[in-house]
Symmetry: C2
Subunit: 144 residues, 2 copies
DNA sequence: CCTTTATAATTGTGTGTGCAAGCAACTTTA
DNA sequence: TAAAGTTGCTTGCACACACAATTATAAAGG
């Protein structure tokens, strides 16, 4: 049977999981009008007085170009601002952005309980950790 | 630290893993001019004399519209044909498509050894299985 | 038999992400 | 200090996938 074949393929299963969990996350964060990734970006911005796009890309493990696009949208929403300094582009949160912090936190917590209700808290957290470690190893090799 | 936060989020880690493994898979299947998903679709077509788009969608866990688009491209490449029967669209492989079977198999095997060389065979296969099971559970709930 | 409902597939549109090329600013080297 | 290289960011283009609306066919009910 073909299903057995597929279920032994990390590409196949990882893509599928990503699609499912992305849908859950999008639904959750839609309540505050953000995409999950934008929400995470915003969390990265909260951490520091100001942060460069490069740092954001490293934290989120996204390409710089992707970060540029995310930032454009968040600036348009008025939740962050962009101060250009030399060749760097320093991002910081506006009042409006800071005001979102609690709601983002809440969404994140909700999302986590949504999937942990299904997977079991221990299993869900363990799976997450294992996926994290696998990503680290694979990405490390990929980037040489 | 924010990284700790992220590494505890299944959405975040699963998306990241998916991006990394997709890149590996794309590189591998690029050698035979297919996207990984198209290759898997083709494998589903090999299994039966002919198969409907709906069945393909179920096997690959993709939306019907996505399958339509994949099929368009594979027809354009001449590796499958589409025989319309009533409201169903029955797909079967051409000679040219069948000729790809071995190469697809080889790519699949290569991909698997690529990531298992990094993750360890046992760990890689176990992770894949766990991800598979989590997907099943989450998707089951999502669809009610 | 005709109308209603259900199902299979397609089409239009949108989102998230990436790659490659380009631009602008900084750094190094001569 | 000028030329060459490097780095940070942006832009154009492309791909994979999804959702919602539509079309086309089949099935069910009066």
């Amino acid at each position: 049977m073909l299903e057995i074949f597929f279920k032994e393929c990390l590409y196949f299963t990882a893509s599928r999981l990503s699609r499912v969990i992305t849908k859950m996350a999008e639904r959750e964060f839609a309540t505050i009008g953000l995409s999950p990734t934008s929400a995470f970006l915003l969390m990265a911005v909260y951490e520091k007085e100001s942060i460069s796009q490069k740092e954001i890309a490293q934290i989120l493990h996204l390409q710089p170009s992707t970060v540029t696009r995310l930032i454009e949208k968040l600036i348009a929403k008025g939740v962050i601002v962009n101060r250009v300094e030399g060749r760097m582009s320093l991002i910081s949160s506006t009042e409006k952005g800071i005001a979102l912090a609690d709601e983002i936190q809440r969404c994140w917590t909700n999302l986590r309980s949504n999937y942990n209700d299904i997977l079991g808290e221990k299993q869900g957290d363990e799976l997450t950790l294992q996926i994290f470690e696998a990503s680290e190893q694979l990405e490390f090799i990929e980037k040489g």
